[in-house]
């Protein structure tokens, strides 16, 4: 049972002569939250996109332990299998909710669509699940038929989370999940995410430039600079006793309230 869920080995992605990310390796266990921090352009989003198969890496492997216990190389899968995996066992929460939602269909349909994708066909059940999930992310039931374009930024982000979690994935990727939200909305979203991650035993990879978000959400942390991982360890160890000069600079740059 005590086996990782995801294994990333020597993953690199170049854009022509430019390095996106280089030689990234790590394991992720079930229920574990890994934060990837670094400033803009450090390669963290490239890394996330390559691990989640949204980008083809230049070198390296990503292996995933499927629900039946078998290890699969995600890049050796057929496109259909990979799409099915991304719709069911994985979730991806974008920084901009408009990238992860369909803005012109109702909130309920946004959540229900993922269920239909996994073969659920009973309208009543789908709607009941959608209502349940909207409630879990604190969206009022009477908004179910509204389109997300009528929602505030914080509500859209919560809807995106509901859409991703409704199929009970085991692994979720998040790219700056609280970016662009005001602090009180951000606090509420962090609390919600933490609760969902621990209730569902989710594993997560969270890319953020906000070290405070990383401290509150993650168990382990990776610091990236110029496409490479320069420090990796327990979150509070990295933040309380940063070893790499660049991490020390990052930590000392946090604004105190």
């Amino acid at each position: 049972m005590d086996e990782p869920l995801l294994r990333v080995a020597h993953l690199s992605k170049s854009y022509g002569p430019r390095v996106g990310c280089a030689d990234v390796s790590f394991d992720l266990w079930p229920g574990e939250v890994l934060a990837v921090v670094g400033e803009s352009g450090s390669g963290k989003t490239t890394m996330l996109n390559a691990v989640s198969t949204r980008l083809e890496p230049t070198a390296g492997t990503v292996s995933y332990r499927m629900r039946d216990g078998a290890w699969r190389d995600v890049f050796a899968m057929s496109e259909a299998e990979r799409r099915f995996l991304m719709r069911t066992d994985w979730g991806f929460v974008h920084q901009n909710p408009a990238d992860g939602l369909r803005m012109s269909v109702s909130a309920g349909a946004n959540v229900g669509e993922r269920l239909m994708a996994v073969g659920d066909r009973h309208y009543g059940n789908i709607r009941a699940s959608a209502i349940d999930w909207l409630g879990r992310v604190e969206i009022a039931e009477d908004r179910i038929d509204d389109q997300p374009r009528a929602f505030s930024g914080g509500m859209r982000q919560r809807l995106q989370i509901a859409r991703n979690l409704v199929t009970r994935p085991r692994l979720i990727f998040m790219d700056e999940p609280t970016g662009g939200l005001d602090v009180s909305v951000q606090a509420r979203l962090l609390d919600l995410l933490r609760g969902l991650v621990s209730d569902m035993g989710l594993a997560a990879i969270v890319v953020t430039h906000d070290l405070a978000v990383a401290r509150l959400l993650s168990h382990r942390m990776m610091v990236m600079k110029d496409g490479r991982v320069i420090e990796h360890g327990l979150t509070d160890r990295v933040l309380d006793d940063p070893r790499a000069p660049y991490t020390q600079l990052l930590v000392s740059s946090i604004l105190q309230v």
Binding site: W29, E32, S184, A187, R188, L190, D191, R194, S198, R215, L216, H219, R220, G233, L234, D236, R237, D240, D241, R243
Partner: protein, 179 residues
């Protein structure tokens, strides 16, 4: 270093964890998380929690993290906060706006709620009044009777004399010189 939030340059920290000895100086992050969950508790001077989470849930969290039901964990948390004389009207508020002494009592409750066999105490009574200091001394004595090993930093000599069996004087450690 003992709790794993500072890296160790040399030496070892050996701890009995689930029937085996583990060296915290070389343990993987995953092992350290397991040690913290099951073996090693910590009462910190600082309270770092998710904003907007109620004090009661902050205290209950170490128990729910070990799989105890929410209701049971909250009940235990309430009992501890009551014992530490934290006014009940504060229980459902997030501790960010609490005074130093109130925050410290939330921290103590959070550290004492579990039955970790080893407990680290970082100046647990620094900002408490005399009445609450006595409560904490009683709680430490109770843990001692349960066989919990405790390592604490105390500036307050009264508390130190009341709870300590052995003293380590660190004034001569001078880590900068030793390094």
């Amino acid at each position: 270093m003992l709790y794993g939030n500072y890296a160790v340059d040399a030496g070892s920290i050996r701890l009995a964890h689930q029937g085996a000895t583990i060296d915290l100086a070389t343990a993987t992050p995953r092992e350290i998380l397991a040690v913290r969950r099951d073996t090693l508790g910590y009462v910190s001077q600082f309270l770092r929690v998710v904003p907007r989470v109620a004090a009661l849930d902050v205290v209950a969290e170490p128990l729910t993290a070990r799989g105890v039901s929410n209701d049971e964990a909250r009940e235990k948390a309430a009992a501890l906060l009551a014992r530490l004389n934290l006014p009940e009207r504060l229980w459902h508020l997030p501790p960010a706006t609490f005074s130093g002494g109130e925050q410290q009592r939330v921290n103590i409750a959070r550290g004492f709620i579990t039955d970790h066999p080893v407990l680290l105490l970082d100046e647990p009574t620094a900002s408490l009044d005399a009445a609450n200091r006595t409560v904490v001394i009683d709680m430490i004595a109770q843990k001692k009777r349960q066989g919990v090993a405790m390592l604490g930093i105390f500036h307050d000599t009264d508390v130190r004399d009341a709870v300590a069996d052995r003293l380590i004087d660190v004034t001569s450690f001078a880590p900068r010189q030793a390094a």
